[in-house]
Structures are given as structure tokens and as C-alpha cells.
């Protein structure tokens, strides 16, 4: 196939833990860990819909946007590409509890429509991408926003958005490395050694990606705040 879809060619490598990669005990445990966050998100989402039926279509639009955002391709090192996690932007725009629900739906669609991530590993992926990522991003956004208030509105917003997106992305990849290290501890050095191996392996691509995602998110937020 020779269509030129620079940013939308679905099928580039990413950080979703594939189906079957985790032992079933781990998959079940991460599902249990993620469940309360997702349940809370779903509850706040259904409450919003019940309070205002018009919210249903807006939430639908937000979910569709989250999915497509995570299908965009952004440039990485060595000319290869990857997908943004979208956790930073989502957390700032929609708040972490809503992202827990929307992120779960997005991950479900990614698993079924794109084969990005699995069904039994959904809990693990939800925990890293729809729970920890958004919370880290949101916290970073709030902290940096107040810490940089004296630099002027635009600079402060830029720095906060960059930190949110970059740190949210980094947090996601760190949690994934933790999940893999717990599942496959190093025979010699245990969890720590294995974490070093996984984190080292993925950091080659993920650290530059986090920076790029931060920059892209700054561009998005700048445009959204000027419209």
C-alpha cells in the first residue's frame, strides 16, 4: 500500500502491553488495581450524563477525539515514529477521573480495532495510561502553573502544559516498565535489575517521544486558548 498518511498510519510500535505478555496472575492483579479508578470514572461520567443529557454527545466527541489523538504519529529519533499517549492533554482538558473512563474506552477500542494492547492486559494498560499518566500530568500541570505564575500567562501555561504532557508520558512508560519488571524479575538482581533492563530498553525511544509529545501538546493548547 502506498498511501501517504504521515501521521495516521496505524501500526507503528507503541508501549501497550500485548495480549498474553503478562502472566495471568499479574493481568488479574492489575485489573483489580485499575478497577476502582475506572469505576469511579464511570460513575462520574454517568452522573454527568444523568444530570445533563446533552453531555452524552459531548462525552462521545471527547472519547472519539482521545482515540484519534492516540492514533496520530509523532516523529521520534532515527526517523521512526510513535503515538502520543495523549494523557497530558486529556488530563488537562477533561480531568483525571473522566480520563480514567475515557482512557479505558479508548484502550478497549485500540485493542479491538488496532491490536494495540490486549484484553487481559487491559487492566495493566489502563493503570499506566488512564490512571497514573493522567494523575501525574494533572499534578504536574497544577504545580508548574502555580510555580511559574510570575513568568506571565502564556509562558506559565506553556511550561505547565509541556510538563504535564512530557511527565505524563514518562510516567506511563515508567509504570509499564515496573509492570514488566514485576512480571519478569531478573534471576540475579530481581525486580530492580529487570526494571533497569526494561526501562533502559524503552527509554531510547520513549524519552525523546515524551519531549516531542510535550511540544505538540503546547502547540495544541496554544491554538485552543487563542480560538
Amino acid at each position: 500500500m502506498t498511501t501517504v498518511h504521515e501521521v495516521l498510519e496505524v501500526g507503528s510500535p507503541d508501549m501497550h502491553i500485548a495480549e498474553g505478555f503478562l502472566p495471568w496472575q499479574h493481568a488479574a492483579a492489575w485489573t483489580a488495581v485499575a478497577a476502582p479508578f475506572v469505576a469511579h470514572g464511570v460513575r462520574s461520567l454517568t452522573r454527568a450524563v444523568r444530570a445533563d443529557p446533552d453531555a452524552k454527545l459531548l462525552i462521545g466527541a471527547a472519547g472519539a477525539f482521545s482515540f484519534v489523538l492516540s492514533a496520530l504519529k509523532i516523529p521520534s529519533v532515527t526517523g521512526s515514529c510513535s503515538h502520543p499517549t495523549g494523557t497530558g492533554l486529556g488530563a488537562v482538558l477533561f480531568r483525571p477521573p473522566v480520563m480514567a473512563a475515557l482512557g479505558t474506552i479508548t484502550l478497549l477500542f485500540q485493542a479491538l480495532l488496532l491490536a494495540h494492547g490486549g484484553l487481559t492486559t487491559l487492566g495493566a494498560n489502563v493503570f499506566s495510561m488512564a490512571v497514573v499518566g493522567p494523575w501525574v500530568a494533572y499534578t504536574a500541570f497544577k504545580l508548574v502553573r502555580s510555580a511559574t505564575a510570575r513568568f506571565g500567562a502564556q509562558t506559565s501555561l506553556d511550561m505547565a502544559v509541556f510538563s504535564a504532557a512530557a511527565l505524563g508520558s514518562m510516567a506511563t512508560y515508567t509504570v509499564t516498565s515496573v509492570q514488566l519488571a514485576l512480571a519478569f524479575p531478573d534471576p540475579q538482581s530481581g525486580f530492580l535489575g529487570s526494571f533497569t533492563a526494561f526501562a533502559g530498553l524503552f527509554s531510547i525511544t520513549q524519552i525523546p517521544l515524551a519531549v516531542v509529545e510535550g511540544l505538540v501538546t503546547v502547540v495544541i493548547m496554544r491554538l485552543l486558548t487563542t480560538v
Partner: protein, 251 residues
Amino acid sequence: MLAIDAAAYTSPWRRVHPAAKGVFFGGLLVCALALPTWPAAPMVAVVALAAGFGPARVPPRAFARAAWVPLLFILTGSLALLVTVGGPQGAVALDPAGAARAAEVTGRAAAAVCCQLLFAFTTPLADLLPRLTRIGLPSALVEVIALIYRMLFVTLDSARRIQTAQAGRLGYAGRRAWIRSVGSLGAALFVRSFDRAQRMQRGLECRGYTGELTVLVEELPLRPSALAAAALPAVLVAAATASYFSLGAPL
């Protein structure tokens, strides 16, 4: 527009109840995960692929294109299992047992990915999502999920066209331009998504929308015998694995 999705609607198994397909591929998936990888994983893969490329006629090329994403993750991840870190042999050294470990994980995950993908390739989401209320999800949530499914294609279509237009004006010719383009694409999509939601609100109001997206979901017959038949391959794989070990194969 999305290869897996498009193939699912033309699948000969489309008329099979999603629950039966879920039991069939889900049962095999459980076998791949819960039973010893050797020999369960290869058996699962063979049974699933035989069903998928046989009676279910999943297009092999589309399947291969879809499968390489998770396979790449599996292979990259398994690389880390080949080495040991911080041991007596130095900072990073080849782990003598690593190859076996990596092979086991790769085998298990590859078999599981086949089950997941073949389920997706034979089960259109338009048939699956409205039935999620049956497993206890609140109907408001199911409506939102179904709505997201519909809207993501509209948004994806916009994204593709905007991106093509940007590429025509050399928006992806360099790294800086690329970042600027993806950023403005994201912002444009956000604005358009919410504009779309508002227009759809108006459009649906004309059709009597008052907050519920109730639709008529056609009944598909689901016979208990069909469910039992769908579970059979998984049971056979489990039985074969058990007999493999009882016949004294090495553990």
C-alpha cells in the same frame, strides 16, 4: 477505514452470536495463558489460526499487518529477558536461562494475540457493543461507548483529510514543521469534535432525541448447544495438554 473493523463486517462468522465467538476465542485464550506454554500455546495457535483462516476466512494479509504491532512489542520486550543485569558477570550479561524464558513468553503471547485478533476480525463492534448491557454495564455507559465508536470514524476521516492537506503544503517536510502540524491537527480535531457534537445534538433532536439513544437491537439466536460447541476446542486443548503431561513428557 480500519482494516480489522472492515474485515469483521464481511466475515462469514458475522452471523454467529458474539457470545459464542467470545467463548470460542476466549476459551482458547485462557488455555494459552493458564496452561503450561509448551505445548498449550502452539496448540492454541494452531487451532485458532485453522479456524480463522479456514471457516472464518480471515484475510491473511490484513491479519499479518495487524499482528505485527503486538508482535513487535513482544519481541522487543523479550529482548530484556535474554539478559541479566547487575549479576556477578557484570552490568549486563547474557542470561543462560534467558533464551528459554524469552521463548516461553513469546510463545504464550503470540498464541494469545492470535486469539484476540481473530475475535476482533470476526466480531463487528456494531454487533458487540449494544449487547454489553447484557453483561451488566449501565445502559448510559454502553450508549456512550457506541457513540464513541460511531464518532471516531467521523473524526478519523477528518484527521486523514486535514493531514493530507497539511502534507500537501509540506507540513511534514521537517521535524519542526511536523510538530507544528500535528499540534494544529490536534487542536483542529478538538474544535471540530465539539462542533460535531453540537450539530449532532440538533440533528438528533429533530429525530425525537431527549437524552436516550435507544435503538432496536436485533435478536441473534444463541443456543446453549452452540455455546457448548464453542467451548469444545478449549476443552480439547486442555485435555490434550493434560494427557501430554500424564504420558510422562518432561516438565
